[in-house]
Each structure stands twice: as C-alpha cells, then as structure tokens.
Subunit: 594 residues, 2 copies
C-alpha cells in the first residue's frame, strides 16, 4: 500500500518536473500533534511517530527521525520501501544537507509551503542556493494522490472560562497591543495554535490529545481578526468577541486578508513558527520578533498553578486506583498492554473536568519499555503477567490543567542487578535535578546533566532530553523551556524563569530487556535572593507513589532517602482524602518510609 502511494507520488513528481519531495510531520501551524487531514507523512510512509521527515526521490524514500523512534520505525515500516535515516539530534533538519548534496545542480524540490516555517525555508534555501536548486510550492499535491483525505476539523469552539485561565482575553490582548505600540508596529500575526488558544481563551478538539482550535490571528491596536470558521462559535461567544473588538473571519480568509494589508503596514511575527505561505503573503511588511505569547504563556498565573495542583490530585487518585486494579487483576489473570492503557484512561475519566488523554499513553512491558515513544497496538500488544517490569507514561487533559507522569513498577519475580542499578540511578537523577537551586536565567542545557550524572557513574545514560514545558489545558509539550543536552535546541538554550511548569523525566533503556523512566511535573519558584542574584528551585506537583521495590537503598544518601520519605508523606496527605479505606491502606503500604 505504501509502495503504491509512493509510486503515485513519484508519478506526480515526474509530471511536475520535481526531482525530490519533502513531507514533514507538521501542519500549517507547526503543531506537534496534527489533525488527520495533515497526516501526509504517515500516509506516504506508514510511520506514525510524532517526529520525522519523509524525503522522496525517484530512487529512494528516506524517513529521517531520531533515536526515540528507531525501534518504532523498524516495526512500522519493515514491509515498506521506506529507508530509515538516523538523525543524531531530534528535530534537526539533517536531511537538508544530505538531499541537496544528493541532487544534481538545477534540480527541483517540491513541498507545501504551509508545512514549513519561514526559518525552515531559509535554512533549506541556504543549501539549495549553492547548487541553484529550485524549491517549488505544491499546495495541492495531495489532492489527487490522497482521495479519501479527511477534511479539516470543524468542531464547536469552547470559551475557556476565567476560573481556569486566570486572565481575560482583554488583558492578554492588551499585553500584545502594548508591545505593538512600543515597537511602533501595526499587527502581530500568530499562527501557533497553542498561542492562539491561550490568547483568545478558546479550546476545541481539532487535534488528538490537545484541546486546540485551527486558526490564525492578526492582533492590531484597533483591529483584531481571528481566522477561524465562524460556524464553530455560538452567538454569545461571537458577541463577546465583538465587544472586545475582535472580528471573526473564516479560517481560509487569511489567504486573501494578508495580501490586502496596506503596503506600509508593519506586521510582527515569529519566523520560527510562521509558515512560509503566510510569510509570502506579507512579504515586505513583516518584522520578526520572538514569539511574545510563547514567553507570556510559559509563565503560569496563580489560577493556572492552582489548576495544575488540582489536576495532580485527580491524576494521583486515578493512578492510585489504576495501580491497585492492576496489582489485583494480575494476581488472577494476564492483561494486554493495550487493555492496561485503556483502563488507565477510564480511571482518569472518573475525574472532574477530564476531557481525554494528553498524549497516547505508553504502556511498555519489559523490552517494549525500551521503545521510548512506544504505543501498544490495539491488536496483538504484549501480554503482561505477574512478573517483570512495566513502564507507564501517561497524561490527562483537564479543563483546569494538563498532566504528564511516568512511573515504572515491578510486577513480581526477582529483578536483575542491572535493573536495580538503572532504576536507582534514574531516581537519584530525578532527585538531584528536582532539588537543585540555580540562578534565574540558567538554561536547560546547563541543568540537564544533573539528572544523568548518577547513571553516568554506572556507565549508563538515556538518549532523550530530561524534560519539557507543559501547558495549562494546552499542549503537553509546551515550548520553550525544558532540559536538553543540545545547545542548539530551545529546551537547551531557554532560560528557566519562576512560575513555569516543566517535567523532569530521566530514564534508562536496554533494548529487548527493559525501559525505566520516572517523571514528575515541577513548578519553578524563587527560593533565594542574595547579593549574587535571584535563585530558583523546583517543587514537585505530581502526586503518585514511586515503586520502592527496585531501589538499591544502600546506594541512596540520607538526603535522598529523606527526600523520598517526605515525597511519599506528601502524596499520602494529598491523596487520602479522596480514597476509600482500602485504597488508603494500600497506598500507605506503597508510601512506607525507607
């Protein structure tokens, strides 16, 4: 099937004089998770991972992705003509140098401008220019090739109420308008869906796992236009927007609106997120700025932080009930990884304001835990029994917040020394980074290694970053702060500020044997003010016991043991009011002092 689709694409390429075609994983908004309509890369390659770029020539179909997805690729694409090209750095455009080198001078490369940011096209051009290679915009290439392509989503849009958002749209817009006045500019053009959802306090379910709305927004000092199909709003919402001076126009209207702007207009925008089709439409009228909203949004207000704390209780209760169910059930029968994931979701569904998972839950038994972005298939997933190791990475979308948590538990039998060493190293790393105090503005690359250093001492490591920002009823991976080794990634270079929500999630993976990861969400806060400056620290918000069966307690320092006991005490205090007697007694056992 994939072979046929690639064959059709190659025919299209031949008849349009294209020597290569690039299909990335994203949509016109540089989204991480995209609506089915935009799953072009999956359609033509069979690969469903969230990161990866397909590059097709007449000779080769190359799927470029990073180490998190190598095993998944082998699994999904083994019977296709697609070849894996291993990226050393996640999301890095390593295919560009390869492709432009491979192609002859004066070749032509096809792609859809909407799927590429201005920054990405500029990067590509810096290579194609050297050999006079052409980039051809093909916005309609999939029309004849993908006949049963799903339509763009058009669900009703909900207004995200003040009790969850903590800030009115008027106040948020005013912040943007102040920057416009200060910079003497006319408009700020937003294309990132999470930024638009935050700015206008709107939510929907266009995209799996993320409550976003497909839209563009042009914010001006006097005129503000939200490009989002008007039939998605109820009359009350439209009237409220009108009162704020917000005009709602259909999504597609952006294509004609932007070119019609006066020639003297100055439009601020973010080169890293704006797609190249929009960029062409405002040629000569743009000025690039950092994404203002990305920065505003990353610092949570008190209502959002309280919402996150509420969610952690709900998530903790759901997870406790889930782990009790799992332990009980496995005493009597086996379960598939897939069933386990669905059951976990059903426990979350019992919680207030729950709208769905924040990403596809990873339930990885034994060796499957080593597949970092593993998703258990609905048919034929591994059968989990009363022994061995199980990794569960999951999260929920609640109207008052977004969660993301990983726990690795031992189901029975005798663990190997290697597993105990790895699990203990991961836990020590988590504690080390969570307990660090650091100057305001320290970057993720400076902090990342603290979560690794105990594993390094054991000759171990993990091939992914240590954490990411997280939204408030928004994206589970929210830019820009985080912890990453790479000095070139946003998660590596972005300074940490107070009141940000970030995950800490070290891990350790041995192919075909086990995967271990321990992940909490932490909030950053000021902990010290001295003549040397302001110092920040982290506070764990996630509330779920950490399995002590795999800990080598002799390898823990007194401070680490104290940390674990205190954390477990806190989990107990927070969760027991919401548990029955039997559940409480079970959790008390799991949270027993070391």
């Amino acid at each position: 099937m994939i072979a046929q689709r690639l064959q059709a694409l190659r025919q299209y390429m031949a008849s349009n004089q294209l020597d290569a075609f690039i299909i990335p994983s994203t949509d016109p908004h540089q989204s991480e998770y995209v609506a089915d309509h935009w799953k072009l890369r999956t359609y033509f390659s069979g690969f469903t991972g969230s990161a990866g770029t397909l590059v097709v020539t007449q000779e080769i179909a190359a799927l470029w992705t990073d180490s998190r997805y190598f095993l998944q690729f082998e699994d999904e694409c083994k019977d296709t003509p697609v070849t894996l090209f291993k990226q050393s750095i996640p999301h890095a455009p390593e295919h560009v140098a390869w492709l432009t080198e491979l192609l002859a001078a004066n070749s032509s490369i096809g792609l859809d401008y909407r799927q590429f940011s201005k920054a990405q096209i500029t990067y590509l051009q810096s290579f194609t220019a050297q050999k006079n290679q052409q980039i051809t915009n093909c916005p309609h290439f999939a029309k004849t090739l993908w006949t049963d392509r799903p339509a763009l989503p058009n669900f009703a849009v909900d207004i995200h109420p003040l009790e969850f958002s903590g800030e009115t749209t008027a106040s948020k817009l005013q912040k943007v308008q102040e920057v416009l006045k200060e910079k003497n500019a006319d408009y700020y053009l937003f294309s990132s869906l999470d930024e638009i959802a935050w700015l206008f306090n709107i939510r929907s379910r266009d995209v799996d796992f993320t409550p976003l709305v497909t839209a563009y927004a042009l914010v001006g000092v006097t005129t503000t236009v939200l490009f989002c199909n008007t039939d998605r709003f109820n009359q009350g919402a439209l009237k409220a927007f009108q009162k704020l001076g917000i005009e709602v126009q259909n999504y597609d209207a952006i294509a004609t609106y932007l070119p019609s702007l006066d020639a003297n207009t100055t439009v601020l925008t973010d080169a890293a997120s704006l797609n190249y089709a929009c960029f062409e439409a405002i040629q000569g009228r743009f000025a690039f700025e950092n994404s203002l909203v990305k920065e505003l949004k990353a610092i949570k207000n008190e209502v959002e932080i309280q919402g996150a704390k509420n969610c952690m209780i709900k998530d903790g209760v759901a997870l406790t009930k889930f782990f009790i169910w799992l332990e009980k059930t496995l005493k009597k029968q086996t379960l598939s990884e897939y069933e386990i994931g669905r059951k976990l979701n059903s426990f979350r569904q019992q919680q207030e304001y729950y709208t769905g998972e924040s990403f596809a839950a990873i339930v990885g038994y034994k060796g499957n835990g080593a597949i970092i972005h593993y998703t258990a298939p609905s048919e034929g997933s591994a059968i989990v029994s009363n022994e061995g190791i199980l990794l569960v990475d999951s999260g929920g979308q609640y109207q008052d917040g977004t969660t993301d948590i990983t726990r690795t538990i031992w189901l029975g039998g005798t663990p190997t020394e290697k597993i105990i060493t790895a699990y203990t190293g991961v836990l020590k790393g988590y504690i080390e980074l969570e307990q660090i105090e650091f100057p305001l503005g320290t970057t993720g690359a400076q902090l990342d290694a603290f979560a690794r250093v105990h594993l390094w001492k054991q000759g171990m490591n993990y091939p992914h970053g240590t954490g990411h920002g997280i939204g408030s009823f928004g994206m589970v991976h929210e830019p820009a702060q985080g912890f990453a080794t790479g000095a070139t990634t946003a998660r590596g270079t972005t300074p940490h500020l107070a009141k940000q929500l970030t995950t800490i999630e070290p891990g350790c993976y041995v192919a075909n044997e086990f995967g271990i990861r321990t992940e909490n969400i932490v909030v950053s806060k000021e902990v010290n003010q001295t003549s040397f400056g302001t110092f920040l620290g982290f506070e764990a918000l996630t509330l779920c016991y950490i399995d002590t069966q795999l800990i080598d307690t002799t390898a823990l320092t007194t401070a680490e043991i104290n940390w674990l006991n205190k954390y477990h005490e806190h989990v107990l205090t927070q969760l027991t009011p919401h548990l029955n007697e039997e559940e409480t007694s079970w959790l008390r056992q799991k949270c027993k002092s070391l």
Copy 2:
C-alpha cells in the same frame, strides 16, 4: 594623554570620511596576548585588559568588555574620556548591534582588516548591510597617529625538540596533507600562531607569556611555505626544513604570495581565525573547514602528558617553597602584592626548563582578589600583612609544558562565616566536577554547572567560565574545550575527548571583601566502556596543597573528605623527594588528614 590620542584618531577619521572606528584587542593572528606592536586598543584607550574592543565616533569612545574587567576598567580609565560598555558575554561582539544602530544610514566604519577574522567581518556586514553602512579597511591608520609604535618582534626561533613535542614536524604535516588529499584540496592556510608553533615544532618569545612565533603557514601536498622572517632561523633549522620540503619566506611575503596562487587552487582555512586581509587575498579560492590543527593539538600525546606531569612537580616544588617563604616572611614584615608575585616567579626560575610566566600572576589581597583579572601594579600595590585572605593565580612556561594554578590561602586572624561558606562551596564544586564521569563528547556547557551547584545552594556564584584548555609549552588558554555556561562559546559547545588538558577553576568573589578561586589542571581519560558507550573522567595533575583553614569540614561529605585526604597524600608523595627536611615537615603539616 588618552584624550589627545583619541583627538588625533578623530582627526584621521574626519579627514578619511569615517564616522566610526573599531579597534579590537587582537593582532592579525587572533592572538589572546599580542606583541606590543599590536597593542592599539591599549594605546588609544589606556585599558590593558586582555579582552575588550574600543569603538570610537566623534561623540563617544566606548570600551566594550565583560564583567571580569569592570573594576580594572574603572581603575585604568577613570581619568580618560573612555566610557565603559558592559558586555554580558565575554568576547561576544555586542558592540556591533549598538554601533550600527547608533550610526546613520550610509555611514562609514574604519578598521584594520588584519585585526578581524573572516567570521567577524561577516557578522559585522550582516548589520551594516541593513543600513547600507560601509566598512573601510585602514591598514595604515596608526602610522601617523602612533609614531613611537614598537616594531614587530624578530627574536631567534627555537626548534622545539622531539623529547618535548613527542611528534615530528614530518608526522604532523603528513596528517594535514592526508586531509588535503582526502578533500581534494591544494593547501591548508594557517594563521593562528599556536597552531603554527605546534605544526612546525617552533617556539620563540614574540608575545608576552606565550612562546610563539609571528608567522603564517601554507601547507600543500608538495609545497609548504612558512612565512616567518628567515633571519630568525639558524642554518641548521633552515636545512632541516628544506629536507622536509618546507620553504621559509619572510613574514610580509604572504601579502604577495597568496594573490599569486593559481585561480583554480583550493585553499582550506578556518573562518574563525583567518584574518580578513588574508581572506581577501584568496577570494574565490578558499573553502572553510574546522581548524584541523586545533583539534589535533588539543589531544596531547604521551610525551606531552608526561611533560605536563613533570612540570606539575616543578611547579609544586616552587609553590611549596614560595608559600613557606611567604608564611615565614609575613611573620616578620609586610610585603606588597607586587613583590610577592615577583618572588613566586623567582622560585619557578629555579626549576628546569623554565622560560617565564604563562600569564601575569594575579596576587590579590582581600578585596583585590575580587578583581578577577587583577594585576598588581609595580608601584603602590596593596600591602599584605599577617592576616586576611590572599588569592594567588599563576603559571609557568616550561619547555616540557605549561602550568596554571590558583590557590587561596588564609594568612591569619578569624575568617568570616561568609568566607568559609564561599571557600567550602568552591572546593566542593572543584571536587564535584573533577570526580564526574561522563559520556565521550559531552560538552563544556553540560558540565560547567557541576562546579557551581554547591555555591548556588548558598546563594553564591561566579561570573566566569569554569575552565579552559591549556597548551604544551604553548598558550595558557588553548582552544577549544573547556567549561562555560554559554552555549555559544567554544568552551561551552566543544565536546570533551580523552587525553586533553583542561583547568577546573571555580571561584567566588565579593567586591571589596575577598576573592576565592581553587584551580587545578586535569587530564581527561577513559574510565568506562559499556553498552551505553565510552565514559571519560578527569585526573588532577596539579600538585599543591589546598589550604584547609577555610574549610567548613562539617559541610563536606565523607567522599569529599576522602578526596581531599587522598589528594594531599598524592601531593606529598610526589613533592617530598624534591624538598629538604624542613620543607617536607612544613608540607606534611599542610597536607594533614582531615
């Protein structure tokens, strides 16, 4: 005087239609320490710091430098019309955005192409192009303005013997030639003096503190030309070079040689170090590569590592004798910081193969220790008595190696709690980083914070990187590896490899109170090979006791106390064979187990 010199420069600017002039601190070889001939920035500003750029317009004379030099600037430039502009990142060209913003469109900026690398001019052009500002090459601007300018150095060149270099020039050249063949290129053009000194095994004393030779080198597969005044070599050296196919031409001959190269020639070179005048001369014939020699040179061979170890014994003996002398003398009399620095040099002079200091020794008493690149003036430096804190950062050039060490000692009286906390935090940071094990290829930015984390916990920090590479009878600050917070500096982004020499030197500074720094040179080495990869660690080479008077031993872990006891035991074992009985007994006391 500075006012008059600036006045003359402004007249020159006016008569040459220049609206601004940029004078950096470097020479045509991007050297850190430069011959007096190239001290243009000092001549026109009075500022002698090793990093800083002077930008002159008709209205302002702006000296851009970083926090290491703020106090020094205030001291040296207080009676001049020069204004300090504070850089947030050392060596970053932060003046460029400021100047091009300040100047009107179509303005003209003068500078000497030779003082700027290709990369620096490209960066400058990316700003000037926006306002159609011109960059004008003024290679002769100082001729009439600086009439008593010192001539270029022309000392005899020494051949660095194989017993110290560990590798013949023939072998080194062959490595370059292999790369040329592999890349199908004709020449490699070298302009960094340390790279040329390494490649040709030549040394001299053109530059303070660094045994380098003013030269360029063009290495070809068949023809190799060393551009260095021929009268600097003895006949034997010239004959030996001839045998190796190396032609020696005078230094200035490069200016005519490069443009005469065939139009089809391909010259590899390093955009970061090649000066723009040379770049212009090979326009259309160049290809940029990483500096091959920088990478080869950073990995020391066994002879160089053994040489470094030998130097550490000599340095340790000199420092022990010096600290004994200091303690004894201060019991009877006071001493100036300047005297103390000279005396330290005299103890090193008693050691074999010593040729001079590797940088201007920093002897900072009390508050002067907080001036990070402090140099005690020969007249009127602070008077040191039998109490308080003293920071001594010094190093030596020996034919078998280069040293750099800092110790901070307590001279008497009762130290404040703040000093003890800071000293203990610095020591803990040193141990933390020195003891780390990490995957091959980990960068300096990932490791840097391990030396800070204990200070951070106390609300303290230091405003400089944590360490730098060091040469072998070469530059005391040798690129590229090191430890730095900045993800944009080479010391931050360069991967650490085995067999490199690097300093670890955390510190803590409180203006007008104290400066603390503890610095050792370490060698990197393989410590583990697992399925996760190769892991490196560090081994301290520097041999000198660490003053235990300022340590809060209750704040040390057992592992830290064991480290210190073991280090002191090693220092004793290594140094006592070279000390007399009295010296040995003194050192034994200082190295007493905690």
